[in-house]
């Protein structure tokens, strides 16, 4: 029921916005950016870009949206785009989260892709606003050389533009690139460019026309763990007897420069910081507080190398795959844990409940290529609906677990390219009558009762032909 309505809504919205743009495409160029500052953080394998734009309305009519432009090579790797509007001056600044949506614009040069920021209040003529934009790129660091030995450290390329790509005229702009260490092999110079410590500064550049682009290439050392989960399936099973069981199946890969030649365990054991600098051994998973019965295993049994630290606010599970992961190596494993139900399940109205859980991957600083969340509702629950703060694919399944007769409804949420930025809460609403909790115990009891009755009957029946 939910699906088609939602789709229709979305379609209507798109149509509406398209019309809106067609009628007002001239307004696009009425805005100009008086100052743009971009900070690119390359310290992990997730590229985080903080963009501060000061937008001015140079036109006559009020503008209610600002368009961001991305080169097509970046859009595929773009995991999340967030925008905040700043209000007030200096110390009393407050941030207002703004809605961001991908949009299509006609006659985009070189397949440029766009995201539109919808302003809370339309920007009147000659007014200005400061926007803070954060976007994250995954798989954007290309290892070069592509294959390294055990003791070599990993060098990567980062490609971008020295100038902020924008459909607007930019009066003044600066770009800072932060590298994880001072070891920078080379970088493209677009004067004025200078480098200090771990930071490379491009700019300031004055007065660039819309769609100005100046390709740069930074070649630097990055030994942070390139932990990529190719596929993560999180199954959240709700039991109204008081437990929330979470099972997470990981397919982990080291996405950095491929390992070449031999792996010497002796070398690795004796000096892990030197022999195996590009590898990683530990991963940290941040789990909810009051977690219990944690297990960490794979298809051939328990993996004995993990540590769990719990306190009242969070639980940290430090897991170590069976072997240190070098570039291109893979590992699969399962983490499971139980949680007290009252922390996550709430009643919204009569018989209507909702479970509130975190989206995203509990592992710190990892990219998930494909995330599937399955919320297994108790047997007998009806009308499920999910509320997720960002677009996801969803559908329903049925699962049979312990002694189920009609099966449990499973709400499946799927999302590609997930970064830690997606670790926000989502809700699944459903209707459940508590009487269903007694179905299975009653079933068992009656089965045993019938068995004993059958036994008694058997003992008292004489089936012999002759007396």
């Amino acid at each position: 029921m939910e699906g088609p309505i939602r789709a229709r809504e979305a379609l209507a919205l798109t149509l509406f916005s398209l019309l809106f743009f067609l009628s007002r495409s001239s307004a696009l160029h009425d805005l100009l950016i008086s100052n743009a500052e971009r900070r690119i953080d390359l310290s992990s394998h997730i590229v985080k870009v903080y963009l501060t734009l000061k937008v001015e309305n140079a036109g006559s009519s009020p503008a209610s949206e600002v368009v961001l432009a991305f080169p097509p090579s970046q859009v595929d790797h773009l995991a999340t785009v967030e925008a905040l509007a700043t209000k007030g001056k200096r110390k009393k600044t407050t941030f207002v989260r703004l809605e961001v949506k991908p949009t299509e614009l006609p006659d985009a040069p070189n397949d440029t892709k766009y995201f539109t920021i919808y302003l809370a209040n339309p920007l009147n003529s000659a007014e200005s606003i400061t926007l803070e934009v954060l976007y994250m790129l995954t798989h954007s660091l290309e290892p070069f050389p592509a294959e390294i030995g055990q003791s070599e450290s990993q060098l990567v390329y980062y490609r971008d533009s020295a100038l902020v790509l924008s459909p607007y005229h930019i009066k003044q702009q600066t770009t800072f690139i932060k590298t994880p260490s001072t070891k920078v092999d080379s970088f493209t110079r677009v004067e004025p460019t200078n480098r200090a410590g771990t930071e490379i500064k491009y700019g300031p550049y004055e007065d660039h026309t819309p769609y100005s682009f100046s390709a740069i290439l930074v070649h630097f050392e990055n030994n942070s763990p390139f932990a990529v989960v190719e596929e993560l399936v999180r199954e959240v099973e709700i039991s109204h007897w008081g437990n929330l069981q979470v099972t997470e199946q990981y397919k982990l890969v080291h996405a950095g420069a491929r390992h070449k030649g031999v792996f010497s365990r002796v070398d690795y054991q004796s000096k892990p910081s030197f022999n195996g600098v590009s590898s990683f051994r530990y991963l940290l998973a941040r789990l909810p507080p009051r977690v219990h019965s944690v297990y960490y295993r794979d298809e051939i049994g328990n993996i004995s190398s993990s540590h769990l630290r719990t306190d009242s606010r969070k639980s940290e599970l430090e897991i170590e795959p069976r072997y240190p992961l070098f570039g291109g190596w893979k590992a699969t494993f399962v983490i499971g844990y139980g949680l007290p139900l009252q922390d996550f399940l709430f009643e919204s109205s009569e018989d209507r409940r909702y479970v509130n859980f975190t989206f995203g991957c509990p592992l710190m600083e990892t990219v998930v290529d494909k995330l599937t969340i399955k919320v297994v509702l108790p047997e007998g629950s009806k009308d499920p609906s999910a509320v997720v703060p960002f677009p996801v694919d969803q559908h329903l399944e049925t699962k049979y677990s312990y002694l189920d007769v009609v099966g449990r409804t499973v709400v499946v949420l799927e999302k590609k390219n997930v970064v830690p930025g997606h670790n926000s809460h989502f809700q699944v609403y459903y209707t459940f009558k508590p009487i269903f909790m007694l179905a299975e115990p009653l079933m068992l009891a009656s089965a045993f009762f019938l068995f004993f009755v059958a036994c008694i009957a058997y003992l008292h029946i004489d089936l012999s032909i002759r007396k």
Binding site: G301, S304, R322, W329, Y400, S401, D404
Partner: protein
């Protein structure tokens, strides 16, 4: 199950005043049996609690993999399964070369659970199959011993079997091997045989054939049954105990059993073609001749009968000679004289080490040492003689079977340490009989000596009507056994003393029947000593289950000053192979790791623990003991991309590949004569340091182990 049986056995005693008492005994023995089952199951869970729920060792991994295949692809695919991931490039027909009993059992349990929507994994089912079947086995022991010497002996034997270390060693949780279900099948087949022998019922005879079929499905050790039962039948005939019940117990078993056995692909026509089965056919002929003789004797007058006997014997001798000559010729014409290598090494203990190094290289095929007897059956070793004596007082068909069983299994266990497993149930049954009889005697004399006990009347009754004695004892014994099982947890003692007490007691049993009394003090002291003995056994069994037999061997642990240290290197290697090599890569390793590599790493191996092709193993052995260049050529011809070598030098793990290396040399040299064992030995000593011979220092195994 047991409660109705026990009570129905007790009801026909015609002692109406004791009906309630008997019913109470039946319920009591039912609960004792239930507890015995729980004990048998839970004592085997040490491995899960101390380590984890995981499949153990080598062969269980293969069985686990077969079960996975079965549950995934169904039974028809399973029969036709040609496995191309092992014995590369030959492959192996799994469906036709594996004993399917265990796999089918676990597969059925899994299917049953899943159709009830209980989503247990195949691995969990496999891990717990062995403990479940040990509970079944102890119940089967109860039934068997009850048929032989009554319910009291049955319960004692069941308790003993539930925790006999020898059986625990093969059936801890995770030890998913054929023996786990086969011991149950073995005991149950014997039970049904004895039951048929006692009742002469064709119903039980048919059940017996089916149980035998299950045993054939489960384990190669079924040949033990098909030789032991004919031996017993022959014994009965020779001692003049032939009866129609014996005929009913034996003839259907041979006919139906052989037909059913031939249905199992791995046995097939072997059921009629190999010499292991010939004894049963020979006895089958003999029992028919005997039956015919008895029949003729019945219809002829004694004089005519004598004439007939002389006639038949002269003619029969000639025919027999001819038949035997043909048989011998047939047997002699086959290369191993119709006997397979493992069976031959049973008859001639030196056979294997002389001719087949691959059989000799397996530690469980070695003859056991004396300490291993004490380790594996503990005090039972001292109770067995007493039990044998008890079996002769009085000797029945059933008790003579037990005597024969213990005698043969003692011999076989002396040949191969692995067959200690067959000895264990026999030892438990005889010890159960001994203990139960001893308790019976002592408590009876105590009761007799203490005045004012109501049981006096009962004792008198037992004295006067010896015919009803057996049935009446049931109730008494039940209580005794219950007493022992309750008192168990808190005692300690020595077995020597109890030996002294025990022997005279059984000997004097005959006169006690008249006197019905030992001195009170002697009885009490002997009872206490028996109780101490039992306590010692329990303590030993729990220790053995917890410490000695529960390590899964794929995970090693060591206790250091800062706590438990876990070596999980095997699984680390297998996991790495699984995730980081191509699906079709070939992995060469010594055959020990073959099953685990295919199951845990899912990669194709060259040789595995099935060891059906000696030449192939010898090729790998040769490659391992050749210089690098020659080895590379051999492995290249086998498409090998990875070699798995276990090196324990760093942590001091004793059973690594360099320790097994001499066997590789021997097995390799057995087929390829250019590998000579003396080349690897310095002055007859195996050295791996700088004193080693140049051949040794240059061989692939050495280079792989010490590559720097």
């Amino acid at each position: 199950m047991a409660a109705p049986e026990a009570s129905s056995a007790a009801v026909p005693t015609l002692m109406t005043n004791n009906t309630l008492r008997n019913a109470f005994g039946g319920v009591l023995s039912f609960f004792i049996l239930l507890l015995i089952g729980v004990l048998a199951f839970s004592i085997r869970l040490f491995s899960v609690i101390k380590y984890e729920s995981v499949i153990h060792e080598f062969d269980p991994y293969f069985n686990y993999r077969v079960t996975q295949f079965l549950t995934k692809n169904g039974i028809y695919e399973f029969w036709n399964w040609f496995d191309d991931r092992t014995w590369y490039p030959l492959g192996r027909v799994i469906g036709g070369t594996v004993y399917p009993g265990l796999t089918l059992t676990a597969g059925t349990i899994w299917w049953l659970l899943n159709s009830l929507n209980i989503p247990l994994s195949v691995e969990t089912v496999c891990v717990f199959t062995a403990p479940i079947f040990s509970a079944f086995a102890s119940w089967a022991t109860y039934l068997l011993t009850k048929e032989v010497k009554g319910a009291g002996a049955g319960l004692t034997a069941a308790v003993l079997l539930a925790m006999v270390p020898s059986y625990i060693s093969r059936s801890v949780a995770g030890s998913y091997d054929n023996e786990a279900v086969a011991i149950f099948a073995l005991i149950f087949t014997f039970y049904l045989y004895i039951k048929t022998l006692n009742t002469g019922s064709l119903f039980y005879a048919t059940l017996n054939s089916i149980a035998y079929f299950y045993m054939v499905c489960s384990w190669g050790g079924y040949t033990f049954i098909i030789n032991l039962i004919p031996m017993h039948v022959l014994l009965c005939i020779v001692t003049g105990r032939y009866s129609s019940r014996l005929y009913i117990a034996y003839a259907p078993l041979v006919v139906l059993g052989t037909l059913l056995a031939a249905l199992v692909p791995v046995v097939g026509f072997n059921a009629v073609m190999t010499s292991e089965h010939f004894a049963s056919f020979l006895v089958f002929i003999i029992i028919h001749v005997v039956a015919l003789v008895y029949y003729i004797k019945g219809i002829l007058s004694p004089k005519m009968f004598k004439v007939a006997v002389t006639l038949v014997i002269s003619a029969g001798l000639a025919v027999c000679c001819a038949v035997i000559a043909v048989l011998i010729a047939l047997v002699a014409s086959s290369p191993t004289k119709g006997w397979s290598g493992r069976s031959l090494s049973l008859l001639d203990p030196t056979y294997a080490s002389k001719y087949i190094p691959i059989i000799a290289s397996v530690s469980e095929h070695q003859p056991p040492t004396w300490p291993s007897y004490f380790m594996d059956i503990n005090v039972l070793a001292f109770l067995v003689p007493a039990g044998i004596i008890a079996c002769f007082l009085p000797l029945s068909d059933a008790s003579s079977f037990v005597v024969l069983y213990i005698a043969t299994s003692v011999y076989f266990s002396g040949v191969m340490v692995r067959l200690m497993l067959v000895l264990a149930p026999a030892a438990c049954i005889t010890s159960g009989i001994a203990l139960s009889q001893a308790f019976d005697v002592f408590t009876r004399s105590i009761k007799f000596q203490l005045p004012g006990l109501s049981s006096n009347t009962e004792v008198d009754a037992g004295e006067t009507s010896s015919a009803t004695k057996e049935a009446q004892n049931d109730a008494v014994k039940t209580e005794k056994a219950e007493e022992t099982s309750k008192d168990r947890p808190s005692r300690k003692s020595k077995k020597k003393e109890r030996e002294h007490v025990e022997k005279p007691s059984t000997k004097t049993k005959a006169e006690k029947k008249r006197l019905l009394a030992l001195p009170l003090e002697a009885s009490v002291i002997s009872l206490l000593l028996l109780v101490f003995l039992g306590a010692f056994y329990v303590v030993h069994c729990v220790w053995a289950a917890a410490e000695a037999y529960s390590a899964p061997s794929i995970v090693l642990t060591s206790h250091s000053h800062d706590g438990l240290h876990v070596f999980d290197d095997f699984r680390e290697a297998y996991a790495w192979l699984r995730h980081n090599t191509d699906v079709d890569d070939k992995v060469a390793s010594w055959w020990d790791y073959g099953y685990q590599t295919t199951a845990m790493a899912n990669r194709t191996v060259i040789v595995d623990n099935n060891t059906w092709n000696n030449t192939h193993i010898a090729t790998v052995g040769t490659a391992m003991s050749s210089p690098e260049k020659a080895a590379w050529e051999i492995f290249h011809s086998l498409d090998v991309k990875y070699i798995l070598v276990v090196f324990g030098g760093l942590v001091g793990y004793p059973s690594d590949d360099i320790n097994k290396f001499l066997w590789m040399v021997r097995i390799g040299g057995g087929v390829f004569p250019h590998i000579k064992e003396p080349d690897y030995l310095r002055d007859g000593q195996y050295r791996i340091d700088s004193q080693a011979t140049p051949t040794m220092l240059n061989c692939l195994m050495y280079k792989l182990s010490y590559y720097r």
